[in-house]
């Protein structure tokens, strides 16, 4: 299948994630959208690595075929760590204010 479709899908997922981060009020939904952005990037990385592997059969060293997929592992690890920390913060926030509204944090003015 053409690489173009993968790129389109990844871009669509990414932009949905961005818009979600900017517009949603619920903190958990925002986290979901962040995950969506990360996963869109993962998809793109895997697609490109497969594209490069398919294009250069036999003439490149074996490791480069899976370089993109290796990077995906790293991203997933980071995403998992970040989610755990973030959710902990959201739980503390809920305990103190009994809401998950992000606009509560608009205090940087004073």
């Amino acid at each position: 299948m053409e690489i173009k479709w993968y790129i389109d899908l990844a871009v669509a997922l990414f932009s949905i994630g961005v818009i979600g981060v900017l517009t949603r009020r619920n903190a958990i939904i925002i986290f979901m959208c962040i995950e969506l952005m990360l996963n869109a990037v993962n998809l793109l990385l895997v697609a490109f690595s497969k594209m490069h592997a398919a294009a250069e059969v036999g003439s490149i060293s074996p490791s480069v075929v899976s370089d993109g997929q290796l990077f995906v592992f790293f991203i997933m690890v980071v995403a998992a760590a970040e989610v755990s920390v973030g959710l902990a913060i959201i739980v503390m926030m809920y305990r103190n204010t009994h809401s998950t509204d992000v606009n509560f944090l608009n205090r940087l003015k004073h």
Partner: protein
């Protein structure tokens, strides 16, 4: 010989030191001390000038180089002082007459507070310093430094009583008109540098053959413009009568004996340039002659004692320029010397009279002072006789030398000159008679107060009277005594270059005697007429009419300048102030401020504390970076 080079820098330095001491210490010095310091430094300079005079009597010229004032590859101008017969003569005049005036001032200004008294003497000393620099300079640039300095001191001293706004206006007028002349001087210097690459007198006068006639004429005309400003000739003379707003000793020193003679010194110094540019010489002669006549006519009808003397100064300066213009350089310098003596005498005498009359300056309110002020009267009479050109007083010899040379050039010059001499005799003796003869016309209060002035005033008067009587005897013309023109011999080296080129027409002795006789006789007639008419002067309330009115109003020249020059310049200045300055430049600068203010107000709204907005900004920023890197 070398001794002079070691010490000639002291001559201008001493007055400068006096200026600093009196100027910086004016709040701490007593009047006696500041007066003493001010006068003593001038006396020391005078003593040194006498010594210098003795050294240069054999016609030696010395140039002392002190340091490089301007030193770039294309142009070298050193801080050089030149001592030769011409400059040593002027040194004697400046320091000698200057010293007498300093002594006089200690008594004349004794009513001032100690601070102002010291300030006065510091200005006087600064003036003498600048004037000495002017005559000692060995190149046009050093001369110009002194030139500017005397203009500045003239401003400071005319406006000495600065609380009076009219005096300040007079001081400004003097300074601005001087400045206009200075522009001419500067342009001449630039022209010289352009064509010859040097401004040293020695080099310029040696390489004068390399200049085209157009160059020389242009340079000399521009130098003359400078001289008209400094020496009050047409059209830049109107500042001098107004300058009488200053204290009388200032008028005596600056506007009679020294500063106004700077123009003549400059032209006498540049005599070779003028000899090679006959066009300029004619311009100088005609301007001098017209100024002499114009000022004499105005003086006929003035009622303020100082104004008569001021116009007399302008007129006599006109005679000096006439002398320069017809090639009688020695005669012009001779007249500078004798004029310094009798004009300073007349001004100081007038000051003595004003002092005795408790500040009255209008001659119509004076009269009969002869019996109250014997010494002042005697010295003033001698001064009047000298200026009227009566033999054997000083003015006769110098004026006749000029008139004789004028006749040789063009008899019309002589004719008009003699008419001017007649008017001189007339207005001077009108002044004398109205002031000293007849009945006292002032108030009873003033009559009580009239007394002879103290010694510090009368002794300088006596010394100057002596000089006014005998000063002419150094220049007895050939017709009377062969070899009697000592001054001419003394100044011969300075004018030798010019004399070698000009052909002096030999005048038969009979012609010379006739010329002298005619001028003296006519002046005597005018003198006697004025004496008899004004010794019986009575105040009349009727205003002057016709020509008398025009003369009394100085031919309305000031009003003419006001209408033609000053009003348009003020209008332009106003335009620049209101439109260009306030709306344009201020508007622009303030506008930038306002724009920054507005912009920052808008940008501040970005910091509203909403996290969502911050994240949006972040996204937008990344987007922009992304797009930018696509193009770079």
């Amino acid at each position: 010989m070398n001794n002079i080079l070691q010490l000639v820098w002291l001559i201008p330095l001493l007055p400068l030191v006096g200026f600093l001491i009196n100027g910086l210490g004016r709040k701490h010095l007593s009047k006696a001390l500041s007066g003493f310091i001010g006068s003593a430094v001038i006396f020391l300079s005078f003593a040194m000038s006498v010594w210098v005079f003795i050294q240069v009597k054999d016609g030696n010229t010395h140039v002392a180089h002190y340091f490089d004032f301007i030193n770039i590859t294309a142009l070298k101008i050193g801080f050089d002082l030149q001592v030769d017969p011409l400059s040593s003569l002027f040194l004697l005049i400046i320091t000698g007459v200057g010293f007498l005036i300093h002594v006089y001032s200690t008594a004349y200004m004794h009513d001032e507070e100690p601070q102002n008294f010291a300030k006065y003497f510091s200005f006087l000393n600064l003036f003498v310093f600048s004037m000495l620099l002017l005559v000692l300079g060995a190149n046009y640039v050093i001369m110009f430094i002194g030139w500017e300095g005397v203009g500045l001191c003239s401003y400071l001293l005319i406006g000495f009583w600065f609380t009076n706004n009219k005096f300040n206006a007079a001081a400004r007028k003097a300074f601005v008109m001087n400045r206009i002349g200075d522009l001419g001087f500067l342009l001449a210097i630039f022209w010289l540098v352009n064509k010859l690459g040097t401004v040293d007198f020695h080099n310029v006068f040696a390489s004068v053959g390399n200049l085209s006639t157009f160059d020389i004429t242009g340079i000399t005309l521009l130098l003359f413009v400078g001289a008209t400003g400094k020496s009050a000739q047409i059209p830049l003379y109107t500042w001098l009568p107004d300058a009488m707003a200053g204290p009388t000793p200032v008028s005596a020193l600056i506007h009679a004996a020294t500063m106004v003679t700077a123009g003549i010194y400059m032209i006498a110094r540049s005599n070779i340039l003028y000899t090679m540019a006959p066009v300029s010489q004619t311009v100088v002669a005609i301007t001098g002659l017209s100024t002499a006549i114009l000022a004499a006519t105005i003086a006929l009808k003035q009622n303020d004692i100082k104004k008569v003397l001021a116009y007399s100064t302008v007129s006599q300066l006109g005679y000096m320029f006439l002398g320069l213009g017809v090639g009688a350089y020695t005669g012009a310098v001779f007249h500078v010397m004798t004029h310094a003596f009798f004009k300073a005498l007349l001004f100081l005498g007038a000051g003595s009279v004003i002092h005795a009359m408790s500040g009255e300056q209008d001659m119509r309110n004076m009269g009969g002072l002869k019996k109250h002020m014997k010494i002042t009267h005697l010295t003033f009479l001698l001064g009047c006789l000298a200026i009227a050109g009566m033999p054997p007083f000083a003015g006769f010899f110098s004026k006749d030398e000029i008139l004789g040379a004028a006749f040789a050039k063009n008899p019309v010059y002589y004719g008009i000159g003699v008419a001017g001499a007649m008017m001189t005799a007339f207005y001077m003796f009108r002044l004398y008679a109205m002031t000293f003869l007849g009945k006292f016309r002032g108030t009873a209060d003033q009559e009580h107060h009239v007394h002879e002035s103290p010694k510090a005033i009368t002794i300088p008067l006596l010394i100057l009277a002596l000089l006014a009587v005998a000063g002419g005897w150094v220049g007895i013309p050939e017709v009377f005594l062969s070899g009697g023109h000592r001054l001419g011999e003394f100044l011969n080296p300075v004018f030798a270059q010019s004399d070698a080129i000009t052909i002096k027409p030999e005048m038969v002795h009979t012609t010379e005697y006739m010329l002298m006789l005619i001028s003296v006789a006519l002046a005597l007639v005018a003198l006697i007429y004025a004496w008899s008419r004004f010794s019986k002067y009575q105040k009349t309330a009727e205003p002057s009419t016709g020509l008398g009115n025009v003369l009394e109003n100085k031919w309305y020249v000031d009003e003419l300048y006001e209408a033609i020059i000053i009003k348009p310049v003020r209008a332009i200045a106003n335009f620049f102030n209101e439109v260009v300055e306030k709306k344009g430049i201020d508007g622009f600068v303030n506008g930038i401020g306002k724009a920054v203010n507005y912009g920052s107000r808008q940008v501040r709204l970005l910091q509203n504390g909403q996290v969502g907005l911050y994240v949006l900004m972040m996204v937008l920023g990344i987007l922009i970076l992304f797009i930018v890197q696509l193009f770079l």
